[in-house]
Subunit: 542 residues, 2 copies
């Protein structure tokens, strides 16, 4: 027997309708690509998003078409998203930090038919557009006064194009499982893979993200998504913000300490989110200038492990609560968040920081487990680590085009590729990537723990641990080290420093000094390249 | 094109799974019907709910079967809910305050096949069970030691029945639109009508209810649903509580001031919710004893208009934030909640209370509009009132058995039967029920405003305004008044008191003094009876 409740499909444009109706005058403030700070409201954004939809429709774009965006976080980018989704087309956020050939590969793979592009990225687009055969139209997110000269065909200035529409348009209606957005993974462990979000998954994810134990944001919050919209949906904030009717502050292309501080201060931002490197820059700026953060309540930090020092400084020097979060493109992206359950809320000092070093717990809507290679579940004991697997309404069930089928099992579990343990209270800690973990005599060694320990040495700038072939143990750890400029230190000094701080059999068999460690376009260590580099390395213990 | 996200149906038992996995040791404390305070956890509740499911299944109950509960708020009642839903059957909460013949009518209409019943209600059930032909089994929510002697057939003690199951059982799986629960409206305006909730609507409603601008509850909250589970799902708290992993305090059958205070105090309750009369009793108790509420942060008050004095006392004398809420059985029940948007958050004193007298604004997931009788939308100007219509994923699209089809239109709007206006910031205020509003010369007069004004006179105990036939104006207001014991006052004194405080043409044409005003079983004024009583009343102005 079915219930007798309304069929009210979870469609993204309902989020914007709600924002315009219930919070119509709430401001959205952007640092524009042209320079000045510009201000608009949810009511205006909805009106303009309807025009985007109307114009796209008139240009012949249809349900299911992939439409790329290569843009910073601004109100125009939000309008473009909702306009695209509003005709049932699919926004496809491109990461401008990727190498041009990666972008070409991704755009061709997705068959993007049009692109919204920021002024900043016109030179990049000019380089690659010719190689993307599906591309029919380029909409430059500016007005005609600021349009650059370009040899690209079918280029139009956004404001001019928009002015041709009167906004007398209705959102298309379709099934809530219709594709809404698309984003490729960062390509840290191989080729980027396409994730295809649905309207349903976006709406549910936005609700999950706003809940009190997740981001915990209300209409009274002033939220600044520093994490880019091209980085896994700005962690859902482009949907959660309008859903709850919070004022939004969009930082555009300037992510340096001074620029971020300026917006935090003048716009009285109470909530923000980004990867650790952004916060390193801000904290450095604050320390240099002696400035404070009187308005900021809470910062969500994720994308890679948040260094303990960042959490400590935010909390102890600036009275800003840190929520450490883990997620991935395949999860829309939120997986776990480190708000404090009653079991931990009383902790202070180092004990509190210890818990905040974990990546937090899964909210309702994310199921997780940790297994061995044979899918046997590990206990939640805070130490037994294994493959982290997840399920949920905002988790991918396949990649676009069918790559990576081995990551999805029959019971619906998605193998994240991360290695983790979970404590008895549900707090999960990432210890490695499955492809990076070192398997010594059948036992696993966490490369992240080795690296964290190594970089806590004052003379080490960066460190990467990789497994190197060993005739007896299969693999043994090699520590690859970049010294700080002007510093000198030996293998024995490093191993001496590590001694006693980790299990004996985890100790690296050797240390290799290098001038540089290879990184991906998004700044993550590229272990696959490093492993190839040391493929024939002979350990002294072998 | 469809997205490629997981099919993860929104099923209620996932809420309990999440509670047991992520918040397994969190306490659920109940005032038992046997007397003592008993303590359990989400992990235990899940284990026992699985046994309920297993036992129901073994007894032959199946997907779609309606299974009644006639019980107070206790952990056992929660177990029963999830156990029933876990086999795809439908919990049907019965309001024990209804008259026995109403209960018989409702149970036969729903065709309840079994019932979970509290000790308290055995005498009531014994009176009615024989008239409910579908009823096959009675499970008394107690252990064998406390089982009363009864002549009812097929009666078993819950604990004994449960002990026959080992809990080795899996939740059934089915479509998320499967019926999960059922509740009949209070019957204020006519016969009660059955609302059939689905798993999807329950889950979405629980998410909406927990959001920061709605109830705003996290795992750190200690929540006490004083509003009964038989009153529109305890406003969703039976689902929101486990969803967020909050400690729950279940007050059982004792709702007097002293009993409620005892739990608020000893269990350190931070959040609670109930109708105004409960809070009147509590406030009176606090005033008599001089006690304070150091742990309580927030109270949600709804079900009928919250008197200004209650809001004021909670906030000013006890530092407890009041959230005024409006809802109805047909809406699962939450419709609007009065948390403060940035536009109003700075208000203090009377201006703040003015806003808190409205019923608040609609969260994402509830759409609303106010129209005239021809479905033309009224502006959101805070004064033009009309029919309040709503849409949303937790709003009914029909009544069970097909009653009331005229309340549902082709565009999916449900006519609430309430009359309201909405202000420019989205704050809705109920001014009447459509059936009660007085239509004078084509214009509407709000009976609630007349009544609120009248009862603010110190000598008036209760007042009800009804429309009485008038040859020129169709209807004119008659004020029916119950004087406070020992007080004497005249029609002219009352009209003099009202003069100047409302529009001239709203002034009652007459005042009728009565010893008593008729009420429904749930304590609401029964205007239909009152109108019948005054059907032939001749106004002095006619
Ligand atoms: N708080 C965190 N701590 C540690 N690692 C994190 C954290 N947040 C995210 N990560 C890492 O980032 C990954 C998700 O990143 P993303 O989806 O951008 O692509 P990627 O995994 O780096 O690239 P690819 O999947 O293409 O190899 C996670 O699987 C995890 O390894
Ligand atoms: N905060 C509130 N202020 C004023 N009225 C309220 C409030 N909350 C609820 N109500 C009234 O209660 C109604 C919902 O009550 P409920 O669903 O219990 O049944 P009922 O409407 O009283 O009975 P029936 O529909 O059978 O006539 C609303 O439609 C509204 O009239
Ligand atoms: Mg990945
Ligand atoms: Mg009603």
């Amino acid at each position: 027997m079915l219930g007798l409740m309304q069929q009210w499909p979870l469609l993204c444009h309902k989020i914007l309708d709600n924002a315009a109706t219930q919070h119509g005058k709430r401001e959205v403030v952007s640092r524009s690509c042209e320079g000045p700070i510009v201000r608009t409201t949810y009511a205006e954004i909805r009106q303009r998003a309807l025009k985007v939809a109307q114009r796209l429709d008139r240009d012949g774009f249809r349900l299911g078409d992939r439409i790329a965006t290569l843009a910073w976080n601004t109100a125009r980018h939000i309008e473009a998203w909702y306009g695209i989704m509003g005709i049932g087309a699919v926004y496809h956020t491109l990461n401008p930090r990727l190498f041009p050939e990666q972008l070409v590969w991704i755009m061709n793979h997705a068959e993007d038919r049009a692109i919204f592009v920021d002024l900043t990225f016109m030179p990049l687009l000019e380089k690659i557009a010719g190689s993307v055969t599906s591309l029919k139209k380029v909409i430059v997110l500016t007005d005609s006064a600021h349009m650059p000269a370009t040899a690209l065909p079918n280029v139009v200035a956004y404001e001019e194009w928009l002015a041709e529409a009167d906004g007398d348009f209705r959102w298309a209606s379709f099934d809530e499982n219709t594709a809404a957005g698309m984003c490729y993974t960062s390509g840290t462990t191989g080729d980027p893979k396409g994730v295809l979000y649905s309207h349903r998954s976006n709406v549910l994810h936005a609700m999950i993200a706003a809940m009190p134990d997740a981001m915990g944001i209300s209409s009274r919050a002033v939220i600044m998504p520093v994490v880019p919209m091209f980085h896994a949906n700005a962690w859902g904030l482009g949907q959660s913000g309008p859903m709850i009717g919070a004022k939004m502050v969009m930082p555009g292309g300037k992510m340096d300490g001074a620029s971020i501080y300026e917006l935090l201060d003048t716009e009285k931002v109470s909530f923000t989110a980004a990867v650790p490197t952004v916060w390193l820059m801000l904290l450095q700026y604050l320390e240099e200038t002696g400035k404070k953060l009187p308005y900021l309540d809470k910062v969500v930090i994720g994308g890679s492990a948040c260094p303990r020092a960042i959490t400590q400084k935010f909390q102890e020097n600036y009275d800003v609560q840190v929520i450490h979060a883990w997620g991935m493109t395949e999860m829309s992206p939120l997986g776990t968040l480190g708000s404090l359950k009653p079991e931990y809320v009383g902790l202070t000092g180092e004990a509190r920081l210890d818990i905040q070093q974990t990546q937090g717990f899964a909210p309702f809507g994310v199921e997780m487990k940790v297994t061995d290679d044979n899918d046997n579940e590990h206990p939640w004991d805070g130490k037994t680590f294994g493959r982290l697997k997840v399920r949920g309404p905002a988790v991918a069930r396949a990649y676009y085009g069918g790559a990576g089928t081995e990551q999805f099992d029959a019971d619906g579990w998605f193998d994240t590729g991360d290695v983790a343990h979970i404590d008895p209270n549900g707090y999960m800690q990432i210890t490695d990537r499955a492809k990076d973990v070192i398997k010594s005599g059948g036992e696993w060694i966490s490369t992240i723990e080795l690296e964290n320990l190594a970089v806590s040495h004052p003379d080490i700038a960066e460190a990467a641990a990789i497994g190197v072939r060993h005739s007896k143990w299969d693999e043994r750890p090699l520590l690859v080290v970049v010294k700080k400029p002007g510093k000198d230190l030996s293998k024995d000094e490093i191993l001496g420093f590590m001694q006693g701080k980790i299990a004996k059999w985890w100790m690296p068999d050797d240390v290799a000094f290098v001038a540089e460690i290879p990184h991906t376009a998004t700044g993550k260590i590229q272990k696959s390249t490093l492993r190839a580099q040391f493929r024939d390395y002979r350990l002294p213990t072998d």
